[in-house]
């Protein structure tokens, strides 16, 4: 018996040593958590052991000890939450799920790891997390948020993350288990082998619980996936219930209108790329280091790509179109008319960002809100403060199949000298280019260039080739400035009071229209 125990111990030690040696590691020696992950449990339904019910598959507890140490009042609150969950569960409203709930969803997520931070991009509603691991304190201590503020550090081969500054609106699962704004989480990520992460979370919330408690689960590498796709919860819901109406001329799979003049794909003003600076920061492999927090010097592009004086409630636009040289977008006639219609008050409701949907490309750069670039050897990832992300894949060569259509498109990138060149397609055609209603269709292909012209400035250009809405390709140029700041959270949908007002304006307009005789 003793011998058997000894052999077993040796086997365990040997096995963990082997595993530790086999772990993928970053250039700086930490285990590389990079990849696509997902749990294989039912913690999203209930953290505790639960039998099955309709649309609630059974599962075992992920909580140590199998029970949650609620304060008496809080247990009653959880029971009320459970009873009213169809209405009161924030998840049912597509709100931000909070941490740790986002980690337990059946939707996969991808991790991108650098020396400065660990980014997580989730399929669900394009939520992201940015865990700063650069030994800095939060600039915004105490500002409440759905997803909390995450700071991490490596303790040997384990990533330990403290998450705090929560609001009290998110739940921990689909059974009404909850927390207060006082909650502080300690997450631990430890790779068991190349394809498994042991993930534990200690929940410390003295307002709701009598003592800290811990949940544990494994995250499994999703070998069959090479990227995380989009599930835009609220957009899908509003399309399904008719609150967001399709535009048959722009949305996939619209064809080229018969009235269009021929598209001249070769027309170009031949603008040379900006000159990259010799002073820029570089990664160890020599590529420009463009990671960091950015804000566009957008010049009002969100209120018009062409130059415009603006009005009392519409800011001016300096004009960002650099090709054609006259700064005028080469619209097809119907698309110019559509643009002029979209700026009328009853069309304000139709702008997807008024619904808090994703801004699309290139608009996400100049919405205007800041964004973060996280750069690994394989990817450049953009985390947009309005809670969406885009992955630019530097390795993959083939775009998604023709019928796979995304809000942010499918972006493949490569370096040409010191300029990052990104080719995107597979758009769904649902985005607007700005509040003024500049048009872009699903057929658009977008070539973007990011050229570092100084240590902290990129010149961003986007060339749009869209034979549905335009007569020739056109290009905009917007500088992007790297600043010393960090992302906050925009929980847009959660407090969007404006949409009903815009809908009222639209409905009033429609009611005043003469009905068409049959």
């Amino acid at each position: 018996m003793a011998l058997r125990c000894l052999l077993l111990s040796v086997a365990v030690v040997f096995s963990s040593l082997t595993a530790a040696q086999d772990l993928p590691r970053t250039a700086t020696g930490q285990p590389d958590l990079g990849g696509i992950w997902r749990v294989q449990n039912r913690a999203a339904v209930d953290l505790l052991a639960h039998a099955a019910a309709f649309e609630r598959p059974a599962g075992m507890s992920v909580v140590a000890g199998g029970e949650l140490p609620y304060q008496p009042w809080a247990r009653a609150q959880q029971q009320q939450n459970f009873a009213t969950r169809a209405q009161t569960d924030p998840f049912a409203h597509c709100y931000l799920p909070g941490v740790p709930r986002i980690m337990t969803l059946e939707f996969p997520f991808q991790i991108f790891q650098t020396a400065e931070n660990v980014a997580m991009t989730f399929e669900w509603q394009q939520v992201f997390r940015l865990i700063h691991t650069n030994d800095t304190a939060s600039l915004y201590e105490g500002i409440e948020s759905w997803m909390g503020h995450s700071r991490g550090a490596w303790e040997g081969d384990e990533l330990v993350v403290t998450v705090k500054d929560f609001n009290e609106r998110s739940w921990l699962d689909g059974s009404g288990n909850f927390h207060s704004a006082a909650m502080v989480l300690t997450e631990r990520f430890r790779m068991l082998d190349a394809d498994t992460i042991a993930y534990t979370v200690t929940v410390d919330d003295p307002e709701v619980y009598t003592q800290p408690w811990t949940m544990s689960m494994n995250l499994y590498r999703q070998q069959e996936l090479d990227r995380v796709l989009e599930y835009q919860c609220q957009a899908e819901k509003e399309e399904a219930n008719g609150a967001f109406e399709p535009d048959v001329r722009n949305w996939y799979p619209a064809g080229i209108p018969g009235e269009n003049v021929a598209f001249d794909a070769t027309a170009t003003s031949g603008l040379p790329l900006p000159q990259a600076s010799a002073e820029i920061a570089r990664l160890p492999d020599g590529t420009p280091d463009i990671g960091g927090y950015y804000m566009a010097d957008a010049g009002g592009a969100n209120y018009g790509l062409e130059k415009s004086a603006g009005g009392a409630l519409m800011p001016p636009a300096r004009g960002v179109v650099v090709d054609p040289a006259d700064g005028v977008l080469p619209y097809q006639g119907w698309a110019r008319a559509e643009r002029n219609d979209r700026i009328l008050p009853h069309r304000g409701y139709d702008d997807p960002t008024a619904h808090c949907f994703v801004a699309g490309i290139p608009r996400s750069h100049y919405v205007p809100s800041p964004f973060q670039i996280v750069q690994t050897p394989d990817h450049v990832v953009q985390l947009f403060e309005r809670m969406s992300w885009r992955q630019i894949d530097l390795q993959r060569k083939e775009h998604l199949p023709e019928h796979m259509r995304l809000w942010q498109g499918d972006a493949l990138g490569h370096w040409e000298g010191d300029t990052l060149v990104v080719d995107s397609r597979n758009y769904n055609g649902k985005a607007w280019l700005n509040e003024a209603g500049d048009v872009i269709s699903h057929m658009a292909t977008v070539r973007e260039t990011y050229t570092p012209v100084s240590r902290d400035r990129l010149i961003y250009r986007a060339t749009v080739t869209d034979p549905i809405a335009y007569t020739r390709p056109w290009t905009i140029e917007v500088p992007l400035d790297r600043l010393q700041d960090e992302l906050l959270e925009v929980a847009c949908l959660e407090d969007n009071n404006d949409l009903q007002h815009l809908r009222d304006v639209r409905d009033e307009f429609r009611a005043a229209q003469p009905t068409t005789a049959e």
Binding site: I143, A312, P316, L344, P345, T353, P368, A491, D495, V505
Partner: protein, 139 residues
């Protein structure tokens, strides 16, 4: 009179258009009506520090003593926070003077062009960086 108000309002708005980071996720001109300028004085009941817009709720008493609660749209909470403003800076009970435009749907909702305390200093302006009136008004 109406024409004068419109011209004045437009000129003031144009003068206050500065950095755009606080501006909207939706068209202000679609939601609010420049033909419906409003001037309000009232008491703050709450401020929601939300994104992409914060909201100040203001109890406004009319000549007959009837109190109406107005919802006043500000810039994004994130923009205010980045300029150093915090929740405690606008407690319930604060008296404010507000100048803005009412929503087209006729609700007691307005987009605010300027907000001042009783002593005339501007709310959300004059941070440690610089005066940024566009932050208070959301543009």
């Amino acid at each position: 009179m109406k024409l004068f108000s419109l011209i004045t309002a437009s000129a003031l708005a144009a003068a206050s258009l500065l950095p755009l980071d606080a501006f909207a996720h939706h068209s202000f001109s679609a939601e609010f009506d420049t033909n419906k300028p409003v001037q309000l004085t009232g008491t703050v009941t709450e401020m929601k520090w939300s994104n992409p817009h914060g909201w100040i709720y203001l109890d406004v008493k009319d000549a007959s003593g009837i109190v109406t609660n107005w919802a006043l749209e500000t810039g994004a909470a994130n923009s205010l926070i980045r300029r150093g403003w915090r929740k405690a800076d606008l407690p319930a009970g604060t008296v404010l003077n507000v100048d803005g435009w009412q929503a087209r749907n006729g609700s007691t909702t307005a987009n605010i062009r300027s907000v001042t305390f009783e002593d005339g200093t501007r709310l959300f302006a004059g941070t440690s960086n610089q005066a940024t009136p566009e932050v208070e008004t959301g543009r």
